[in-house]
């Protein structure tokens, strides 16, 4: 599935992934392939991308925002994203 991470300053990431862990307002959750259409609010926390294009997992510390899931296309809107080590 295709993942995009957008902030007002720039496009942080665009690429393929097999799973995305997100900090939802009601607790952390993960989106896998063929997830039903979803719009969810996110709080400050870690966004973890599993099985990214180069096979590894990537992590960002993101600020509150939203995620939209539709037809295996995931768009994360956040006010800021810093790559974690």
């Amino acid at each position: 599935m295709n993942v995009e991470i957008l902030t007002p300053d720039k496009l942080v990431y665009e690429g393929e992934a097999s799973g995305v862990q997100l900090p939802g307002v009601g607790g952390s959750f993960e989106i896998l392939n063929n997830h039903a259409p979803l719009i969810a609010a996110l709080q400050n926390g870690a966004l973890r991308l599993n099985g990214a294009t180069n096979g590894t997992s990537l992590t960002w510390n993101i600020k509150a925002g939203f995620v939209e899931v539709l037809n295996n296309h995931i768009i994360v809107l956040t006010e800021g994203a810093k790559k974690a080590e």
Binding site: L38, A40, A41, F66, E68, L77
Partner: protein, 301 residues
């Protein structure tokens, strides 16, 4: 005679060096403008997507959702945010914004102005310089230097401050005066009501996009809370857009002003050169006449 020649020569030189400065400033503005435009373009996908999500939720939500930023109160305390540049030499750019504010004080908000209930917030140093002698308004100068750091974090802090003040009823209405960026040559000074939100509407979303509209979304936590979360985000993005557009407009205006200045200098130099050549010619003619008449006097003997 040669005194006049020298005078013209120095003037040509000074105009030429001024022209070099204006030319350089134009080039600098052009490159800054490109960067400013880049910023606007980079922000666009985020703003568009935010609006799209709003459209998706609004469609699914029934009835109106109450948002604290949309509360209409009688307009007693007014905040006007004026966006200007930090530096001059950009033509009528700052004065145009200043004129719009003055007009608002005299017409739309004359009652509140008379009662001393109008505050003006300055973003950009030149705005304060226009109004600093006015003792009737409350000057808010906390964010004068915002154009020094145009990151979203920095700008959204200002938006948050304004939004909180509105919720705390420190202001009943917030208006923003800025320059809308149309293209490099045209920038339109404009007034927009920032708070309360007049209507929360998704702009620029193509509703004909089939699979988007028909998708049956799950909402987490729920539509009402999502809209409540979405509203401040959209407001902040809007505020960010004001600053970015004003920033691009500033560089556009300076570029045009400096371009005109360079052209004027060119014309001035042309005129001066003609003057210089005439004076030179006149000097030569007088000298020849002196020599010839001197020789004629000798021959006459």
């Amino acid at each position: 005679m040669s005194g006049q020649l020298k005078e013209i020569k120095t003037r040509i030189k000074s105009v030429e060096s001024t022209q070099q400065i204006t030319k350089a400033m134009k080039l600098v503005s052009a490159s800054k403008l490109r960067r400013a435009q880049d910023r606007i373009i980079k922000m666009r996908p985020y703003a568009l997507k935010l609006n799209e999500i709003l459209a998706n939720i609004a469609e699914a939500a029934e009835g109106d959702v109450s948002i604290e930023y949309a509360v209409q109160r009688p307009a007693e305390k007014i905040l006007v945010v004026i966006l200007t540049s930090d530096r001059g030499l950009c033509g009528g750019f700052n004065n145009n914004a200043g004129k719009l504010v003055t007009q608002m004080l005299e017409e739309k908000y004359s009652k509140q102005y008379a009662a001393g209930n109008v505050s003006v917030m300055y973003i950009g140093k030149k705005g304060y310089e226009i109004f600093k002698k006015n003792k009737e308004i409350n000057h808010v100068r906390d964010y004068v230097n915002a154009f020094g750091d145009l990151s979203f974090d920095n700008v959204s802090a200002i938006a948050e401050h304004v939004m909180n003040a509105f919720v705390k009823k420190e202001y009943d209405r917030v208006e923003v005066v800025y320059h809308r960026f149309k293209n490099q040559i045209i920038q339109i000074p404009a007034v927009e009501q920032f708070l309360p939100i007049q209507k929360l509407e998704a702009e620029g979303v193509d509703q004909k996009d089939e699979n988007k509209v028909k998708a049956d979304f799950e909402f987490e936590p729920n539509k009402e809370e999502l809209i409540a979360e979405l509203a401040p985000k959209i407001l902040k993005t809007q505020f960010y857009r004001y600053l970015l557009e004003n920033n691009a407009s500033e560089h556009g205006a300076r570029m045009t002003a400096m371009d005109n200045a360079t052209e004027n200098a060119e014309e001035l130099i042309k005129d001066l050169k003609i003057k210089f050549n005439r004076a030179r010619q006149a000097a030569i003619t007088t000298q020849i006449v002196e020599i010839v008449s001197g020789a004629a006097a000798l021959q006459g003997d």
